[in-house]
Amino acid sequence: MSLDVGVLSAAHVHTDGYAAELSRRTDLSFVGVTDGDERRGTTCADRHGTEYVADPDELLGRIDAGVICAPNADHRAWIERAAAAGVHVLCEKPLAPTLEEARAIVELWRESEVNVGVAMPLRFSEAATRAKRALEDGEIGRIGAISGTNRGKMPGGWFVDPEEAGGGAVMDHTVHIVDLVEHLTGRTVSEVYAEIDTRFHEIPVEDVNVLSMSLSDGTPFLLDGSWSKPESWHTWGDATVEFVGSEGALAVDTTDQSVAHTVASGPEAGVHTVSHATDTSAALIADFVASVREDRDPMTTPEEGVRAVAVVEAAYESAERGEPVAVEL
């Protein structure tokens, strides 16, 4: 079955990774890119050898499936528009900037005929997959404590616009590891205490994001998702999680399969970190494409995506109230 696919907004920094994968694949047709910002849309289309389509409804009329790389605040509108056109979508994380919008997306998805996936690429990390097997097989016994990190550089652009992003580091760097922990353990985050602030950059959103959580069975889970890495750090950031069990411990570092490449001189001079890990963006796209073909749910559904949004909302509420807050769905 031939599949026509498009990119719905090129605003997100991950757009290039997904678009490259769409143009690389020979089992689908990368029909085009639409974006309210003509220059951004054209640049993306040109780089990946596809067409810029100014009218989103025109593109939606020509494709079977789309990848939403819009700012967080626009996710719901894009999903509504795509569902109305009968287009399956893979949506960047977080599912939405508020729990109310995320819930509305879940409702819409349940009532519609289209598949909706949430971009949680870490679920495809080989180290994480290995950890899932170890935890399911009880290789480290009962889980007693969980410690995660998802630090990064301050991304700038719409990511630091409270209207478009809905928040800062809490919004951007909470959901990956929360989703991964829930996926790996089969348990949910039930309570959050947050220490958040703006300490590193002069931006209108928070860049400090330290969350002390507990799972439904009482397991403590600490996450540092701050934008605390300097611009000159050797790579974009990190994504790690460590489990302490009754019979052992295991640690997953999703970025620790890399080769250091030092460029001697010129504009690229310096040390570059080149990953040799499984390309999780490619795996994410492959799963989404297969889900459309096989008429099944993609790896992460809105029903799962809404959970991480609920944790984000509880984190903001905790920071405001200065006390731990229960995660309500």
């Binding site: 007693g144 602030d197 590193f200 507990s214 300097p230």
Partner: protein, 320 residues
């Protein structure tokens, strides 16, 4: 300088190794069970005692080094004060703030040199990190991961009444270090997981300067995992980071396994005890006096209380 050691366990042995390289005499060792064996095993020219008071009374010591379980500290400091000896006490200073106050009153009244063994400040990697510029403090991360301590006499680490638990005994290393780097902490929030012979804790910190931090401390690691400590200090002008997991200047393999060492001409314990000895000799105040050690205990107790009550605790409100 004549030094008496109270205790004949793991810490006493660690201190003894440092003293052996220094210009001091260990003249007595006091421990309730079989101190002679300890003296003989280490080839010491020291008198064994079964009680600290007799050692202090008989040996004319200049300093008492207290390497015993935490709950015994207050009484042993009194012995040193009676003998007008300077006193070094392993961390934590005491189990309770009342105990710390008794120690403060006793050493202040006698005007004796007092130091608490917050050795992390003297470890070369931590001392170096503390001097590096990161700008305005942002987020501090400190981890200390170990198997359950099996070396305590009569298994005192397994008795939380005696050890104080994971925050008071283990996390206090990093709590003290981070206070030293970034100043006092306004509030803490802590969680922990406990089993009969395992404990793992997390404590988040909000410093008075506004920065955020967290300490992760574990006594729940498998024996096969080498002791791990990690530090990150992130500020608006830079980042400092190290991990013992990637710090392996000397490695050795035999059929029995792997050995990783980070040899230093002077390690943290030696630097710490040399500092103490030089303060005793010169009559100056040690870097970690009774007030510093008491504030670090207060912070650790705040973490224990937060974990007990499931809510954030303002550190200055912890008075007992």
């Amino acid at each position: 300088m004549r030094i008496g050691i109270a205790g004949a366990g793991f810490m006493a042995e660690t201190h003894l190794a440092a003293y052996a390289e220094m210009d001091v005499e260990v003249v007595g060792v006091a421990a309730p069970s079989d101190p002679r064996r300890f003296v003989d095993e280490h080839g010491l020219d020291a008198t064994p005692y079964t009680d600290v008071a007799s050692m202090c009374a008989n040996e004319g010591i200049d300093a008492l080094d207290v390497c015993t379980p935490t709950h015994t500290h207050v009484d042993l400091v009194r012995c040193a004060v009676e003998a007008e000896a300077a006193v070094f006490v392993e961390k934590p200073i005491a189990s309770t703030l009342d105990g710390a106050r008794e120690i403060a009153d006793a050493v202040d009244r006698a005007e004796l040199t007092f130091m608490a063994g917050h050795v992390v400040r003297f470890f070369p990697e931590y001392a170096t990190a503390a001097e590096l510029e990161v700008g305005t403090p942002g987020v501090a991360r400190a981890r200390r991961l170990s198997p359950f301590p099996e070396w305590g006499s009569e298994d005192w680490f397994a008795d939380r009444e005696k050890s104080g638990g994971i925050f008071v005994d283990l996390a206090i290393h990093d709590l003290d270090y981070l206070r030293w780097c970034w100043g006092e902490v306004e509030r803490v929030f802590a969680r922990r997981h406990r089993e009969p012979r395992a404990e793992h804790g997390f404590v988040t910190l909000r410093f008075e300067c506004g920065a955020v931090g967290y300490v992760e401390a574990s006594w729940a690691q498998p024996e096969s995992r080498a002791f791990t400590s990690e530090l990150e200090l992130a500020g608006d002008a830079g980042l400092v980071e190290f991990s013992t997991e990637s710090d392996s200047p000397y490695r050795q393999w035999t059929d029995d396994g792997e050995l990783v060492e980070s040899p230093h001409a002077k390690g943290g314990y030696r630097r710490e005890l040399e500092h103490f000895v030089s303060c005793v000799e010169s009559g100056t105040d040690p870097a970690v006096g009774v007030r510093e050690a008491t504030e670090s205990l207060r912070l650790a107790l705040a973490a224990e209380r937060s974990a007990d009550r499931g809510r954030p605790i303002t550190v200055s409100e912890v008075v007992a």
